[in-house]
Symmetry: C2
């Protein structure tokens, strides 16, 4: 009798749906990250943080299109406006054109101060309420723009912050499935997962045709080229 | 000649004004914290985070009154609305009456999920732009409501997150001067620093007369009583 209940209880625990908050900007990395979470049987809760960046409208459209594609319901979406990043400023991604840095070792002016910590703090607060098991974020420390908050050391430190700063017995974990993937790997993974790349948007600067010149466009184009896959989005001058 | 320039340079470094972001809710703890930062010769940059809590209007008024008292200019203030804590919910501090918990070991329902991490993330982003040396926060782990994000372990973990997640060579440090102070100590410290307690507001629930019943009122009243000081704010039923 005891064994029967024990097995039943274990089965209930195992079969309980896992929930995950996905940071879904609408870019190709967050798209592949969402598809990874779904493949791993997480119920996705999609978080979109609008910080009044140059391409906010386009990214929000991408977010909703991607959610529609994966049948994510309204109640599992959270769109958040953070006007303070606009008020604080200090990045060319907000109200400014992108400035190319000639120094490869320098953190570019597209860096948004502490953006990922702000996004993860919102994601963690939400994860506490919906009792999510994981937060997925599409950061990579291989082909990236040199932002400090895209590195494993940062995510490890943030997990400690969650451990000590939240009330749940089993704190939510941070999963960054692309962390050690190149852009080529990410494209290949996206192809394997059959993601709708055409719905995603990566350009830092333009809302109609991707500029093809900013760091984000360049990394995206490099990834598709190396993976020998045609990028389905529109580029200026048909790059 | 070299020595001359060395001394001059050192003097310039020493005499450079230190800047600090102060998390200023408008409560008595944040007021004493602000006064501490000023005493320590920091130029204060006051941050107020409005998360649509029950007493948001009263707290915002306290924030501005305290800033006026200490001659903090408009450009050194940042008032931030975070609607996501309202959207996420899960706390009685937002759109809800306070529910007393009978279990002393339990984290009360006034806990706001990951609030201090959200506030510190905003403060850190701002500190990067204004090149602040410190972030002051008025948390205490002695006479407190049992929130996990008011403890030293949490702040230590957050400092690591800042270290790895920001681009400055000398990351901003977190200073919580009241961390090991009882409410009585905080009141005594406030008296020593001649803070305008009458401008502060601590009640979780009411905007006109402090209720005297919520955790925050109780802790405040206990502090003033033990310090043998009259609390100048108005309480319901003249407590």
């Amino acid at each position: 009798m005891f064994l029967y209940f024990f097995i039943l209880y274990s089965l209930i625990i195992i079969m309980q749906p896992k929930r995950a908050v996905i940071s879904l900007s609408g870019g190709m990395d967050s798209l592949v990250t969402l598809a990874t979470a779904i493949e791993q049987n997480y119920i996705p809760y999609a978080l979109h943080v609008n910080y009044y960046q140059n391409t906010q409208e386009k990214e929000l459209k991408s977010f909703h299109s991607i959610c529609d594609y994966y049948n994510i319901k309204e109640e599992n979406k959270l769109v958040v406006d953070v006007d303070y990043l606009k008020k604080i400023g200090g990045t060319s991604l907000i109200n400014g054109s992108y400035h190319k840095s000639d120094n490869q070792d320098e953190i570019p002016d597209s860096y948004v101060p502490f953006r990922n910590a702000n996004i993860l703090s919102i994601a963690t607060a939400w994860s506490e309420i919906i009792q999510a098991d994981a937060i997925f974020i599409g950061a990579s420390q291989i082909d990236y723009s040199g932002y400090p908050d895209c590195r494993k050391v940062f995510f490890d430190a943030f997990e400690k912050t969650i451990l000590y700063g939240t009330k749940r017995a089993k704190p939510v974990k941070i999963i960054a499935p692309l962390l050690n993937m190149s852009k080529k790997d990410t494209v290949c993974e996206g192809v394997r997962l059959k993601v709708p790349f055409e719905l995603s948007w990566s350009c830092y600067y333009n809302n109609d045709y991707a500029c093809g010149q900013c760091d984000s466009c360049k990394l995206r184009l490099k990834g598709f080229k190396e993976a020998n896959v045609k990028d389905p989005i529109l580029y200026k001058n048909n790059i």
